[in-house]
Symmetry: C2
Subunit: 194 residues, 2 copies
């Protein structure tokens, strides 16, 4: 009976993620989204409910894709290798519209206004941190990293360095790959006792 929607919802979310990621929450207007997604207001609100709801969808999607990318790196490089490769991948992947982490951008833009999207970003950061921790634990079990410091603490430090790297990369006037390699080198130099 009904008419079928003419758009690919998944593709629209991906496109919206790109727009939000690049221009930020306040920096993205409904007109930007209408133009970028090719959707008129009625269709937009029927499909996604609100600008905020779509933003949240893109945040979730962002983390899912980050996890998937990390999973792939684990399969090809192992736990420690994946962590090191991830550092490079976030600053060299040309498919990414922006260098800085979308979670960081969301947190910094909205935490001062008590926006619930900032809380969501915090949650996702904790999730990523836990994933890193499990990889550090795995690397410790494999003997690639000593057990002198807990996997959780290492993960926290790793994520902090990662976010710093990505803010630095956003500047555009420094060699982010070199910086990524330095951080990666510290994972070996600083953590491995033979």
């Amino acid at each position: 009976m009904p008419r079928t929607a003419s758009f690919d919802r998944n593709a629209l979310i991906a496109k919206a993620r790109e727009i939000f990621w690049q221009k930020g929450w306040a920096g993205t207007s409904m007109k930007d989204l209408e133009r970028g997604l090719g959707l008129h207001p009625g269709s937009f609100y029927a499909a996604f409910g609100s600008k905020d709801a779509l933003y949240e969808l893109t945040l979730d999607r962002y983390v899912e894709e980050g996890q998937a990318r990390l999973d792939q790196l684990v399969q090809t490089h192992g736990a420690l290798g994946a962590l090191k490769a991830y550092l490079r991948s976030v600053v060299e992947d040309s498919a990414m519209p922006v260098r800085a982490c979308m979670l960081s951008k969301t947190l910094l833009e909205l935490s001062g206004q008590d926006n619930q999207l900032a809380s969501r970003a915090k949650q996702h950061m904790a999730t990523m941190e836990a994933r890193f921790a499990s990889l550090f634990a795995q690397a410790q079990d494999e003997g690639d990293i000593d057990k002198g410091m807990s996997a959780e603490k290492r993960a926290r430090r790793f994520q902090s360095d990662l976010m710093g790297l990505r803010v630095s990369a956003e500047r555009g006037d420094i060699d982010a790959l070199e910086l990524a390699d330095e951080i990666a080198a510290d994972l070996d130099r600083n953590h491995f006792k033979s």
Copy 2:
């Protein structure tokens, strides 16, 4: 002949810096500024020209005060000691309205929209980086840090770690002081060859 202004311009800039720093550029409305500064639109525009012009003033002020704080730490702790103390100070200073660096917040919010304030933030970051580099060079001359890596590269890494630390601190659910101490410890552990 003229009537004298009834407000302390310096104090207003300081207050505006607090507001902008906390709520961000788009998150701060003229109504927020009018309320926060106690200024009606006419006076505001007579005094500062525009919201953007005031934001730029506060950015400049922010960096000046950061440099002054760093200078003071150098006098009491020396070059390397100041760098380590600075890490702690940015996350423990309760006078600061926000944990994250205002330059990072500005860069992440506005670089995707080609706003000139983002360029200004980049400039200031480069200035801070140069200051860090001169402190690392001084520490090297004093024998506190080995010369196996250039002061400029160390500075770039230090600033990256610093920004990561401050983004992490913005989350509020982690022990930022512990993280600061870990980064500070690496300055010794990783860089000193006896």
